[in-house]
Amino acid sequence: MFDSVALSAAVVAGDPDKVKAETASLLEAGVPPKDIIEQGLIPAMDVVGEKFQEGEVFIPDLLFSARAMSEALATLRPLLSEEETAASGRVVLGTVKGDVHDIGKKLVGMMLEGAGFEVTDLGTDVAPSAFVEAVKEKRPHIVGLSALLTTTMGQMKNTIDALVESGLRDDLKVMIGGAAVSEEYATQIGADAHGPDATVAVELARKFMAELGA
């Protein structure tokens, strides 16, 4: 155990420079990178998460903290052993083909990074084949699909089908989000869950990691 108070305060304040400085000094003091992440940064984000639930901080504050955290993570990840790196959750996100709406997806991505996940955001108007390629390349634990419109949500099914066809579906979890979709729709198209908002998405992601035994 080490003194994580200063690090925690910097994360809660959403101050990337302080977070980096604290991280550097902890490394210098010989604290293992894995410990800094698991006993310092992630608990700090949990504190931020609690304050958010209480209404003490809001989404922009959360995102500043998440960004400070992920900048620190970026410096720590290269220092982790291969085995330690493999343990962090990997997520691929995208807005499906034909849809350019992405504000919800961006929010989910930023909050997942704040929770310690490695997130690859494919952007918008992402064809099923592009999702398949990204999954082959990144080997994510979780794929997140976003669509706002009822005219594009059908692409969620096409994307899941493409993952099935490529033999990739069974090794990962799929969650969907967007104003027009629902739990019912998720079940219908063979997704694992529906996230009605970004905080639920993070909870789901954690749950998925436990289920995948990762």
């Binding site: 958010f52 929010l107 009822t150 005219t151 027009a180 219908q188 970004a198």
Partner: protein, 489 residues
């Protein structure tokens, strides 16, 4: 006889001074000239290139202010919508205010069971019959999404439900250009031909750019199609302050204005003088729940400011009111609907939509439509102001009645009291009378009124010939779509 006497005939508000309007306009031009926008539709890009925009990278264009000024000069300041029977009831110009429902909610609160369930084709029909009967609904949007039609043709089926169940002007949505064409054909069949429809439109397209500053292929296709047929079109941004637009009100407005203006430029390049309706659904992202808030006071404020800009531009204005983030038709819904209805009316927006929306546009409620209808009637009374004729000042009446007298049975009272707001569902009885009637809460009365209208009101049907034509169009669309999976749920 006298001279130089000025009267404020109606009540209103404005949020922006003339200088502020000019400043926002210049800021929007600056935005278009320096940040520009992305356009993903080839015909529009060609038109823009020919007109002399600077292309930063393929599809990313900077639009010069001169193109905007030209488009503003050409766009008509007035658009009139007609009923299905040809009456020019909705004059979108100046500060004339008209109200209607919103469109495309996935869910409904069932008026019989209170259950929250998927919106169906039958529900759209019922909502339209309701609006057809309500005095203060001047136009309609679908209120809900037809979830029980094949996704590829759900837009046509949705329009069908609207066309058959009300004569009031219809603002419609369409999946794409093909959907639009079928819908226009259906409307033309009910009006007696496409020429009549073009000359005296009873329908208006609703389409949207994607904030910030993106014009997608499908949206622009629809925009240009509307221009081509001189079909009134609302091409309306949805800037969410703090998320897809700046969190400051002025910054949020700049993005919304810039999107409107860039849409107008493309539209007017396609067909100068075609009817275009300015506006938006403009509000904040709630930073606890991440929703676009439909009940926020910011919605009313930003909409009123955007309305001031529409007046500055001399374009009809599409605004938003009568909606709520509440999940039920409760006190919150009433607060939020009332604030936005009154603000929209006072601001002088022309085509004010989204009455009946709950749950930040996820759930439509017929009781909420009726609630809004009542609030609109009250708002209209406020708009009426204080008339100042001799009879209004009533000096002779006051003299006649004298100190300590009463005005109850006076002829003057009989003449004037009828101009007061007449509550239909709002209750003013004393306690005993109210308790005896047993109609308790406003929500009960709203529900009863919905049921009453649906049981009694029969809208003017379309002709048998038109109905046949409509069915042919739907049949053809169904065949063309086959079993293609567009949409879902």
């Amino acid at each position: 006889m006298r001279s130089n006497y000025q009267v404020q005939a109606t009540v209103g508000l404005s949020v922006l001074s003339q200088d502020q309007r000019e400043e926002l306009h210049l800021a929007a031009i600056h935005c278009l000239e320096n940040t520009g926008c992305k356009v993903d539709e080839p015909e529009a890009l060609e038109l823009l290139r020919e007109a002399g925009v600077h292309e930063v990278s393929p599809g990313h264009v900077l639009i010069p202010g001169s193109l905007v000024e030209e488009a503003l000069r050409r766009a008509p300041p007035a658009v009139t919508l007609h009923t299905r029977l040809g009456d020019p009831t909705v004059r979108l110009e100046g500060h004339r205010v008209y109200f209607g429902t919103g469109s495309d909610c996935p869910y409904i609160l069932d008026p019989d069971t209170g259950e929250r369930r998927r919106f169906t084709w039958d529900d759209v029909g019922a909502a339209m019959r309701l609006c057809d009967a309500l005095e203060n609904m001047d136009f309609v949007m679908s209120l809900g999404l037809v979830s029980d039609a094949p996704p590829a043709v759900s837009d046509r089926r949705q329009f069908e439900a609207m066309l058959l169940n009300t004569v009031k002007p219809i603002v419609f949505t369409a999946h794409d250009r093909a959907g639009m064409r079928d819908i226009m054909a259906m409307a033309a069949a009910a009006r007696g031909g496409p020429e009549v429809l073009e000359r005296e439109p009873s329908i208006c397209l609703y389409a949207e750019p994607s904030t910030p500053l993106q014009h997608t292929r499908t949206a622009v296709e629809k925009l240009l199609e509307a221009a081509d047929h001189r079909l009134p079109v609302i091409y309306t941004p949805c800037p969410i302050a703090g998320a897809t637009a700046p969190a400051s009100p002025a910054g949020c407005l700049v993005v919304g204005i810039a999107e409107n203006l860039s849409g107008l430029v493309m539209h007017q390049l396609k067909r100068p003088g075609a009817p275009f309706i300015f506006g938006g659904v403009i509000s904040i992202m709630d930073m606890r729940t991440s929703i676009l808030s439909y009940g926020a006071p910011e919605l009313s404020l930003f909409s009123a400011a955007l309305t001031d800009m529409a007046h500055y531009y001399r374009l009809p204005m599409f605004s938003t009111a009568g909606c709520s983030d509440s999940k039920l038709v409760d006190e919150q819904a009433a607060i939020e609907a009332t604030m936005s209805v009154l603000m929209a009316a006072l601001s002088g927006a022309n085509l004010i939509h989204d009455t009946g929306f709950l749950e930040a546009a996820i759930c439509g409620s017929m009781e909420m439509v009726v609630l809004s209808d009542e609030v609109i009637a009250a708002a209209k009374r406020i708009l009426g102001g204080v008339p100042m004729g001799e009879d209004d000042l009533a000096l002779d009446v006051i003299k006649e009645v004298g100190p300590g007298g009463d005005f109850l049975a006076h002829e003057h009272t009989r003449r004037h009291f009828r101009r007061n707001f007449r509550p239909r569902l709002i209750d003013r009885r004393n306690y005993e009378a109210w308790a005896k009637r047993g109609e308790g809460r406003m929500s009960d009365r709203l529900n009863a009124r919905v049921k009453e209208i649906l049981a009694e009101h029969r809208p003017e049907p379309v002709s048998a010939e038109a109905k046949r034509e409509i069915e042919t169009i739907l049949g053809r669309a169904g065949k063309a779509a086959g079993s293609q999976g567009v949409g879902g749920g």
